[in-house]
């Protein structure tokens, strides 16, 4: 199985080299792709310097969804069998990738989501407001696609080739994760959640804070509602 690790990074110069190194050492067989989403702190240059990653530098900032989708496009064009989205801020652990890829390799799922809320409830705790938001999306999404996904905001995901092809055309530009769950669930992709450990971020600041978190909740909620109202996309 040829796998591409897609690392979206916006102003993550402090942590990107470490992230690339951890991916490279854990999985020397897979290719690492860093998508520098128009950073102003030289993230792309730092990533290139490692010599262990291919680096796409977007000329302007698209938002995380647009950056990750660039990776999906490359993965499709170059015929990868699967891709793993792995955040550039150091929250995700390369050692957990195998458990994400296993359901894809055995063709039990098209999309695997690394969840912070596993049976063992491990990893770090985020703020109370954020936990509330995550619970809310879990409820809404579970209602709408009839499958319980507990961690809809997780950006630690693995996709097989059909899912990648689909997302190449349909992927929200900003805050895409909860919407993508609906989109994929509605269009008949098999979703699977696996518990993973996550760390607190290693550098940089979250893009979702203050007034923006209100915009985030409303935008994502609207996106989810619209996602359920849209007809199923016909796939070839």
């Amino acid at each position: 199985m040829r796998v591409l690790f897609i690392v979206p990074a916006y102003n993550e110069a402090a942590s990107i080299a470490q992230v690339v190194a951890s991916l490279h050492e854990q999985h020397a067989v897979a290719d690492v792709l860093v998508v520098d989403d128009g950073s102003t702190d030289g993230t792309g240059a730092v990533a290139e310097k490692t010599g262990q990653a291919r680096v796409i530098r977007l000329p302007v900032n698209l938002g995380i969804g647009g950056a990750v989708q660039t990776g999906f496009k490359l993965a499709c064009r170059e015929g990868y069998d699967a891709a793993v989205q792995f955040d550039g801020d150091g929250q995700h652990l390369a050692s957990e990738i195998d458990s994400l890829l296993a359901p894809l390799a055995s063709d039990q799922a098209d999309v695997v989501i690394g969840s912070r809320f596993g049976r063992e409830g491990r990893g770090f705790r985020s703020t109370r407001a954020r936990q509330l938001g995550i619970k809310f999306f879990a409820m809404v999404n579970s209602l709408l696609i009839g499958q319980r996904i507990s961690d809809n905001t997780s950006g630690f995901r693995a996709y097989n080739a059909p899912a990648l092809r689909f997302l190449t055309d349909y992927y929200p530009v900003d805050y895409p994760e909860p919407e993508a769950v609906i989109l994929l669930g509605k269009n008949g992709f098999r979703l699977r959640e696996v518990p993973v450990r996550m760390r607190a971020r290693q550098g940089g600041v979250s893009s979702i804070r203050g007034v923006r978190s209100v915009y985030y909740m409303m935008k994502v909620f609207l996106g989810i509602l619209m996602g359920t109202l849209r007809p199923k996309v016909r796939r070839g």
């Binding site: 990653a53 796409i56 977007l58 000329p59 647009g66 530009v173």
Partner: protein, 129 residues
């Protein structure tokens, strides 16, 4: 008598204003400052305003038809509808531009990398993929 002078004056002003507005829009389209598809709504409403200012009882007729007691309110309604439609058209146009823009940025990003890899491959061996 005074009443007639005033209503006559306001009609002249309305007609002149509407003609100037229509002329302005047409000129912008002619000079390709506005594309035809975005000029269309403007032209339609400019013509409508002109029609209303020429055919004054028209507004009363339309108001009665819609059950609006105060005829000028019908005119305000028309204005708001015009502004809403044009703004919605803008939102649609902006969304479509944003989508195209995103695709272009993604393609440029991919191509820049491929270009760098190709020229790099000539100098110091194959890139790592």
């Amino acid at each position: 008598m005074l009443q007639n002078v005033h209503t006559g004056r306001v009609q002249v002003i309305a007609i002149v204003g509407s003609v100037l507005f229509l002329g302005f829009i047409v000129e912008l389209i002619r000079k390709r400052k506005i594309k035809e598809e975005y000029g269309l709504l403007w032209v339609v409403f400019a013509v409508l305003f002109l029609a209303i200012s020429i055919w004054r009882p028209g507004l009363e007729v339309v108001s009665r038809l819609l059950g609006i007691a105060y005829a000028p309110a019908a005119f305000l309604l028309l204005l708001i509808v015009a502004v809403f439609l044009i703004l919605i058209q803008f939102s649609v146009a902006i969304s479509s531009l944003a989508e195209k823009n995103k695709k272009l940025v993604q393609e440029i990003g991919i191509m820049r990398m491929q270009l760098a890899e190709r020229s790099g491959a000539g100098r110091d061996g194959a890139p790592d993929a």
